[in-house]
């Protein structure tokens, strides 16, 4: 393979012309996805930094504002997302085994759970909107009270963090749809299923972000009397 001329292989999905072997191509794609995920860590990291600073500056206001979030809905939604991660990894497993129908079923389930998560998120946001919890909204619920400023910061972070998380979910849903279509067309085999594999990595990463967002946003000092 070393001194192979460039035209030695036809370009296919499983092996593009710049690579020598399928193994090399798969390694490159996986590595690229992991590197992309650490850029995502830093992307969310900027907001986690802002969150850390403000929560330590305004602990009580953050607790009060956090208490207005619906903890039951939040917990259920967390479980839904974890379920979707499970179905995703099952889809990857099915691709390893080359079970095309199973891939499709698990991908559809993942898509479904992702959709439920987004739906619940939309419901929660709507609730926030109706209750005038949105910063920047006219008649913010704490307008005029001394809590107003830091509470606005909490809700700004809440919407920015959950919003960007949801945006990642939407992108994930798009990717899943493409994968389902590609699986139906028979693009994947036990020898080549890199797209399913790295889409899985992405989906699990988005799950991990939520694993941190849930306690940090919903569960601040719930024991305090309100």
């Amino acid at each position: 393979m070393a001194s192979e001329a460039h035209a030695a292989h036809e370009e296919t999905l499983a092996l593009r012309e710049q690579f020598d072997t399928a193994e090399q191509q798969k390694d490159a794609s996986t590595l690229a996805m992991w590197i992309f995920l650490i850029t995502e860590i830093m992307f969310f990291g900027g907001m986690f930094a802002a969150y850390t600073i403000y929560r330590s500056t305004y602990p009580t206001v953050f607790a009060v504002a956090s208490a207005s979030l619906n903890v039951v809905v939040g917990a259920i939604n967390t479980c839904v997302l974890l379920l979707s991660s499970f179905t995703m990894v099952m889809a990857v497993r099915a691709s390893q085994l080359g079970q095309r129908n199973a891939i499709i079923i698990f991908l559809i389930l993942t898509l479904l759970f992702g959709g439920v998560f987004l739906g619940v998120k939309a419901y929660e946001w709507n609730e926030k909107y109706v209750e005038h919890h949105m910063p920047g909204q006219a008649a913010f619920h704490l307008e005029g009270t001394p809590l107003q400023g830091p509470a606005k910061i909490f809700f700004s972070l809440y919407f920015a963090m959950t919003g960007l998380h949801a945006l990642h979910m939407v992108v994930g849903v798009g990717i899943l749809s493409v994968l389902i279509w590609q699986t139906r067309k028979g693009k994947f085999s036990p020898e080549y299923f890199t797209p399913v594999d790295i889409a899985g990595l992405y989906w699990h990463f988005v799950d991990i972000v939520w694993i941190f967002l849930f306690p940090l946003l919903y569960l601040i000092d719930r024991h305090l009397p309100k």
């Binding site: 001394p146 809590l147 400023g149």
Partner: protein, 317 residues
């Protein structure tokens, strides 16, 4: 018109900063000359004499690598320690410093003396006496910069920044805003007049009467603060007598030192830190008082710190 090549030294710190400068320049000149000389020397001595020559391999010397890692590192540590020593001095105003309040806004400097006089874009100070500036901004970030004093500090909205200097030479010195603040940033300039102490007293006596604390006391009445903050502690809110400088116990068990920042926050955002044992009843005064009013109120609260009261901590119940 004279062409300056070196700024005036007009404060105690300025000579120290300049000494550090001499050291840094000496190190820099040494290394710059070394590198330039080496390049010129090698480039001429080892110029290519035939197109086909291939010079002999020179092996990397580990010793050399260590030498030119360790020596510069040692030098930089001297720079670090020296710079840090000056910075520490610049950061900690002496206790006996004369207090000036500075409020920056687009695009002017507003300065208040404790004795009452208020100035715009001009500051009169005596030489030989430390001057502490407590600074805030009404809008964007500004920066209080007096090149002749080698003093600069950003003036950030929403909080107090402090810096200090002791002028050593009477004269008229530039005051610049050094942090970009919008359209007329370059117009946000003024003058510092450093004066002999007796000239300063003379200048002071020619200004209107009424100290900052008195202005603050008036505000305290006008804003009806006294209705709740009763001096004997019988009001719905804690007494402010002797508060300044004390450790205050807060709801939730944490404590805070009652400094300028805490008093300012308590006026503008009272619920942020509530004194233990009190209800968060106080309304915010954001929008009702200017930054200048706030510093007058602070001066008033500070004036209540009579020595006997300062012995007790400000905890109710």
């Amino acid at each position: 018109m004279q062409i300056p090549l070196f700024p005036e030294q007009a404060s105690t710190i300025s000579t120290e900063v300049d000494h550090l400068l001499y050291f840094l320049v000496a190190v820099s000149v040494f290394f710059t000359v070394l590198i330039f000389a080496a390049i010129f020397y090698f480039a001429i001595k080892y110029r290519r004499r035939s197109e086909t020559e291939i010079p002999e391999h020179v092996h990397t010397g580990l010793t050399l690598e260590i030498v030119w890692t360790v020596i510069p590192f040692g030098l930089t540590m001297i720079m670090f320690a020296w710079g840090a020593a000056i910075f520490f001095k610049e950061s900690r105003p002496p206790d006996d410093a004369m207090q000036i309040y500075v409020v920056g806004k687009q695009w002017m400097w507003k300065l208040q003396h404790m004795e009452g006089p208020r100035e715009i874009n001009e500051l009169h100070i005596p030489v030989g006496r430390p001057v502490k500036l407590t600074m805030t901004s009404e809008d964007v970030i500004h920066s209080f910069f007096v090149p002749a004093f080698r003093t600069k500090h950003d003036v950030v909205p929403g909080r107090y920044a402090t810096t200090w200097f002791t002028a050593t030479k009477p004269g008229k010195y530039h005051l610049f805003c050094a942090e970009y603040c919008g359209t007329n940033h370059s117009g946000m300039i003024g003058w510092i007049y450093a004066m002999e102490p007796h000239d300063y007293q003379q200048w002071l006596s020619g200004t209107p009467k009424g100290t900052m604390a008195e202005a603050g006391a008036q505000l305290f009445q006008d804003l009806a603060c006294a209705n709740c903050h009763k001096e004997d502690g019988s009001g719905r809110c804690p007494s402010l007598k002797g508060l300044y400088g004390q450790t205050v116990l807060l709801t939730g068990g944490s404590t805070v030192t009652a400094d300028e920042a805490y008093i300012r926050e308590s006026i503008l955002n009272p619920a942020a830190k509530v004194v233990s044992g009190y209800e968060p009843l106080m309304p915010t005064f954001q929008g009702q008082v200017t930054e200048e009013n706030v510093v007058q109120l602070i001066e008033y609260v500070k004036s209540l710190a009579s020595p006997p009261a300062a012995q007790q901590t400000n905890q109710k119940r």
